[in-house]
């Protein structure tokens, strides 16, 4: 059982040390990921979901720093790794697809060049066989005429095509864990679906675990096994997807689920969450969601512990006590 766990994040804290004070972008989060599993991390912008991803990759931007916790990847704490060791893990063990496919590829090098240089890190082979691997990879992500495409520059391809190339590069070294940071927000709806299917296919083939970062519960329902809802740097609720949809325990999750529109909802009555997400350098005392929460009471002046509402289902809300 424990051998199946690829990633274990324990009490991870990533803080930013700015002139105006310390911003706790990630403030003590815990989650686990098994081989082949897909975890959705859901939250509004600024909730810390992207920073969680950068922390796992060891690429927290300046002036941020991981100040506490552990990230155990295959049983080893990544926070104790050197720069060089982290570089070896990136790409081959953990890889990430960023938000915008149009800007993830270097405009002045050909697609083939960018694929081959990635493959060269993994395989000590002559150029010709690396090129063949590149062709196979492109064909694998359903790019037609893959051979000719190698000579293309990114700007000669469509957005959907480029997203596929980025996908091909990210699986080139067969990573155990793939992080997808809102990879579909900049794509057309039809291409979005295609791409999600592609990710699923990749997962089925490689058995990689996926962390899917999104703000879209619709995608979560389609893609994920488990969900973690983040708010102001903390995971406020975590459970299986079905559990979360059937019986959300945290008022924030409830609100998020209610704001997913369906055909029966009128635009006029479309529910939205009152107020703004809190600024991370001026968090309210106690529960950070309390100011926007319809159920807030005196108890919420103290930050809630993590309560287990059902097996594998936790919530940080006093109502779940």
């Amino acid at each position: 059982m424990t051998n199946d766990v690829i990633l274990q994040v324990q009490d991870l804290q990533t803080h930013f040390f700015t002139r105006t004070g310390v911003v706790k972008a990630v403030d003590g989060i815990n989650f686990e990921l098994k081989r082949g599993e897909t975890l959705g991390i859901v939250g509004e912008s600024g909730s810390g979901k992207s920073m969680t991803a950068w922390s796992i990759l060891g690429m927290v931007p300046h002036p941020g720093r991981i100040v506490g916790g552990a990230i155990n990847y295959l049983g080893e704490n990544l926070l104790e790794k050197s720069r060089g060791e982290m570089r070896d893990i990136r790409g081959s063990g953990i890889c990430m697809v960023m938000q915008d496919p149009l800007t993830s590829l270097n405009p002045v090098f050909t697609v083939g060049d960018q694929l081959v240089e990635t493959l060269r890190l993994e395989y000590d082979e002559p150029k010709r066989s690396l090129r063949q691997r590149a062709v196979d990879l492109l064909a694998n992500v359903r790019i037609p005429a893959a051979e000719e495409r190698l000579a293309n520059f990114p700007h000669q391809m469509s957005g959907g095509m480029r997203q596929r190339v980025v996908g091909a590069i990210s699986i080139a070294r067969a990573p155990n864990l793939l992080i997808a940071d809102e990879p579909t927000t900049s794509l057309d709806a039809t291409i979005q679906l295609q791409y999600l299917r592609l990710l699923k296919d990749i997962q089925a083939e490689t058995g990689a675990a996926i962390i899917f970062i999104t703000h879209d519960f619709g995608i979560v329902a389609r893609m994920c096994d488990r969900v973690a809802v983040m708010y102001a740097g903390r995971i406020v609720e975590q459970s299986d997807v079905e559990d979360m949809f059937d019986s959300p325990a945290h008022p924030y999750t409830e609100a998020l689920l209610q704001s997913v529109p369906d055909l029966d909802t009128d635009v006029d009555t479309l529910p939205s969450i009152e107020g703004q997400p809190p600024s991370l350098d001026a968090l309210p005392e106690g529960c950070s969601f309390a100011p926007r929460c319809p159920h807030a009471w005196e108890r919420c002046l103290e930050y809630p512990d993590e309560f287990t509402v059902a097996p594998g289902h936790t919530s940080r809300c006093w109502r779940s006590e």
Binding site: R87, R90, G91, P107, V108, L121, S170
Partner: protein, 305 residues
Amino acid sequence: MWQFIAIRVMQGIFTLLVISLLVFLATRLTGDPALVLLPPEASSKTDYERVRKQLGLDKSLSEQYFIFLRGAVQGDFGLSIRDRRPTRDLLLERLPATLKLAAAGMALAIIIGVPLGILSAVKRDSVFDKTGKLFAVLGMAAPQFWVAIMLILLFGAILKVLPTYGLEGPENYILPSFVLAWSIMAGIMRLGRSSMLEVLDSDYVRFARIKGLQDGLVVWKHALRNALIPIMTFSGISLAGLLNGAIVVEQVFAVPGLGRLMLDGVLQRNFPVVQAAVMASAFFYILTALVVDILYVYADPRIRH
């Protein structure tokens, strides 16, 4: 591609035409060369008329311009007013010194400026970066002639290690080319730093790191290739500007080049010489711009297709 080059060449020719008209008119505004040539006390009206006729200045302006243009197209800029030598010979005599200095200055600016700019960006906010910033500000704020005089003072008068005039040996190039390079070096450094910082913060550089590429490859391949594009444009414009900067530097370091030829020509109202020197200068300016444009197409595939 060929169409692009053809268009740029046509534009260049048109620009040269406009410049020829401007320099022709501008020289005529500086005064009458006949008055400079004739001794003021001994000259009669007939002498004056004779000299003007000899110089071709008695003809109408449009006729003079036409003669100048017809000659210029064939590379003939007439005789120097002062010593009656063909202006073309004077030009060919002086041009190599200026071109060599400009090339040396540019090479120096790029060889020093680009790596310093990139290191400043990579080691952002370090002591190195801050020192670099100080030098760059100095480079852009200190006027060329002042830098030149200070260097002559230091290396020529105090340390006595470098020659400060003429262009006899390779060591003669050091000071003038450094002065020429000075402000461009500072510009390249600052531009290199800012464009590198921008590129280092781009998604494709981040993605290159995510896929596990070595830091060296990320910086010197992925980032540098993109950061070089604006540096190339700037260097091209600066190189052309170097030919003009030559006027000051050649004067200070007593280098017999195009800049001094131009300056002397203006002072002596030597119309053909000024015209020829300005046209040569403009020609090289346009040629450099064209070469940079062509290189640009090779550097940035987005333009190529």
